[in-house]
């Protein structure tokens, strides 16, 4: 019952391509949305649950992508091995940086993570002999899963949907475990959490590492799916977009992050028809959500549904009295 929401979500994700196998918004935008969900759910563990901001998360996304891209093109590693190497590298780097960075709070933490993201981007641009520089790295082979080559939009939808469901499931279980409770305690009051015997530094590091590994996972899949990577896809704007997804969907809720990621992806794709006014409408909608649903889309929408339900029930009750 605890995972009822997850099963419904999984069923919808599985049914969509069966109903619309050739629809651009399902198989192409859906794949993008899936990657964003993985990133947002991971970042939500850090921002939403542990209460630590990160404005440099695109760096880990890029790390996974470039690890897969470089290892599979320049060293001919099998793609699955390159993916695992990317995850390990992201985890290690996150672990090394976590202690000094997460000692900072508030604005200082924001500054440090911002700097981290910018440095990572500069490396992607400057290390031309490895990364291909600003023009990017082309010719990344397709993902090979134990002999099965992932090819075509529909197959990619399947792979990324499965990866996304795995991440959502992991996250739902994680926040309901002892680690999750420790994270929320740190968010509530770091001091109080320490008084309760929680190793707060370790807890924060865990959240940082897990969210970095999730991001690198999305990055690896992204590199193989696009068959091309360039630093543009991992710059500051992307980091900010990821934070926007988490906040828009609703902090400290896995489905909030899912909701935010899907909403923002669809919004970007849906608004292109407005051309010049795209950015204007985009901004206005985001502002409206934050003003009228301060707790985020997910909570806002569920509350609205509840209210509608109870209004309907009440009016039915009144009619039965008449």
């Amino acid at each position: 019952m605890r995972l009822a929401g997850f099963y419904i979500f999984a069923a919808v994700v599985a049914l969509l391509p069966v109903l619309f196998p050739d629809n651009y918004f399902v198989v192409v935008v859906g794949t993008s949305a899936g990657l964003h969900v993985i990133l947002a759910v991971g970042l939500n563990l850090l921002i939403g649950y542990a209460g630590q901001i990160s404005l440099g998360h695109a760096a880990f996304f890029g790390l996974g992508a470039y690890a897969s891209a470089i290892l599979s093109t320049r060293f001919d590693w099998p793609s699955l091995l390159a993916l695992v190497a990317g995850l390990i590298a992201a985890g290690l780097i996150a672990w090394v940086f976590a202690r000094p960075i997460l000692r900072l709070r508030g604005h200082y933490l924001a500054m440090a993570t911002l700097g981290f993201g910018i440095i990572a981007h500069v490396i992607m641009v400057q290390a031309t002999q490895w990364t291909g520089g600003p023009d990017g790295l082309a010719g990344i082979p397709p993902l090979n899963l134990l002999g099965w080559q992932v090819d075509g939009d529909l197959q990619w939808y399947g792979v990324i949907a499965a990866a996304m469901l795995l991440v959502v499931w992991l996250s739902l279980n994680l926040v309901d475990s002892q680690v999750g409770r420790a994270l929320r305690a740190v968010h509530g009051s770091e001091f109080a959490a320490r008084m309760m015997g929680i190793d707060t530094a370790r807890t924060k590091t865990q959240a940082f590492v897990v969210s970095a590994v999730f991001a690198a996972f999305a990055g690896s899949l992204f590199a193989h799916q696009q068959a091309f990577v360039s630093p543009d896809s991992f710059n500051l704007t992307v980091s900010v977009e990821l934070v926007t997804m988490v906040v828009l969907g609703g902090l400290a809720s896995t489905f909030g992050a899912v909701c935010g990621a899907i909403a923002l992806t669809l919004l970007q794709q849906g608004l292109v028809v407005f051309e010049d006014y795209e950015m204007l409408i985009h901004g206005a909608l985001l502002m409206a959500v934050m003003i009228f649903m301060p707790q985020g889309l997910f909570v806002g929408l569920t509350q609205a549904a509840h209210r509608l339900g109870s209004t309907l029930a009440r009016s039915k009750f009144r009619r039965s009295l008449d």
């Binding site: 050739d22 651009y24 918004f25 192409v28 935008v29 993008s32 641009v125 400057q126 031309t128 520089g133 600003p134 023009d135 990017g136 082309a138 939009d153 992204f222 696009q226 068959a227 091309f228 360039s230 543009d232 896809s233 970007q268 794709q269 292109v272 051309e275 795209e278 950015m279």
Partner: protein, 379 residues
Amino acid sequence: MRRLLKVFGVVSLLLAGIGLAHAADPIKIGSFLTVTGPASFLGDPELKTLQMYIEDLNAKGGVNGRKIELIHYDTGGNTKDAVNFVKRLIKSDNVDVLIGGTTTGDTMAVIPNVEKEGIPFISLAGAVEIIEPVKKWVFKVPHTDRMAAAKILGDIRKRGLSKVALITGDGGFDKSGRTQVLELAPNYGITLVADESYGNKDTDMTTQLTKIRSSGAEAIINFGLGQAPAIVTKNVKQLGITLPLYQSHGVASQTFIDLAGAAAEGVRLPAAALVVAEQLPNTDPQKPVLLAYKNKYEAKYGPVSTFGGHAYDGLMITVAAIQRAGGTDKAKVRDEIEKTSGFIGTAGVFNMSPEDHMGLNLDAFKLVEIHNGTWKIIE
């Protein structure tokens, strides 16, 4: 009865409408350009040019009796969006050809999809790697950075100089230009004695230029876009360096002369003929094409740029190919684009072949020198 008649009338009107729409099924041209963001100075004139000429063609009755419909998405310079928009253009909008990919990054990112789906694609980006090795469905119309490097190195050799200092920024255009100079220099018997770089947002390059001054260089080459090359030019003057300074085609616009001011005197660069259209001899077959484009664009939008010219070349080559193919069959249109020969565009005279999907030769670039605040053709 009257109601039945009404319904009948409406239905027959609808059917007639569908029939009409079908008879004049438009030719769909899909486009993805960088109209916003840092590279918008490239994408904006490209989009305006496409819109202006498609409107024009439609006013004249379209191509093969069919109207042209332009479907455009702005990538904002984000390669991920470029990939998704190309999928959308192919799958959802069912376009017949693609013209776009303002930056090399955007173009390279979409090539795997274009090749897989099999749709003719004319790229508006510069790097030589787009067409080398040749890709079946991919063509490009702008000059390559390799041609610019070759033109510069050729002129340096002609002057009898052999030691060159290179200074470049950290952008894609800069990096790619640097690679081409490094690769080609030995062919021209030229050695590089310095290879300096700067950040494109830097406001002073005297440190790098001081190093170059003491390197024994006989000429300086600078590859860059925007403000930075103007700053380099000014710094060279301020340091009293009298070596010949070469800039790239990336600064072939009046803006550069305005920014660099008096320091720009004597700077040489390869430029598309569009920049010096008025100065071309009347015997030059390109002159009427250039002036026509220039006047048309400037009447509507203001100062012309070579980038918009690339969109003109791409569109006209496509339209001619569709006319010759007698329809929009993708394979036939592709074959016809490949057979483009003797087409006079703004970038030069195009002669494409199965081995060359650009079809321009070094003559397409004019070597110009800045003289009294304006361009002078050297050769």
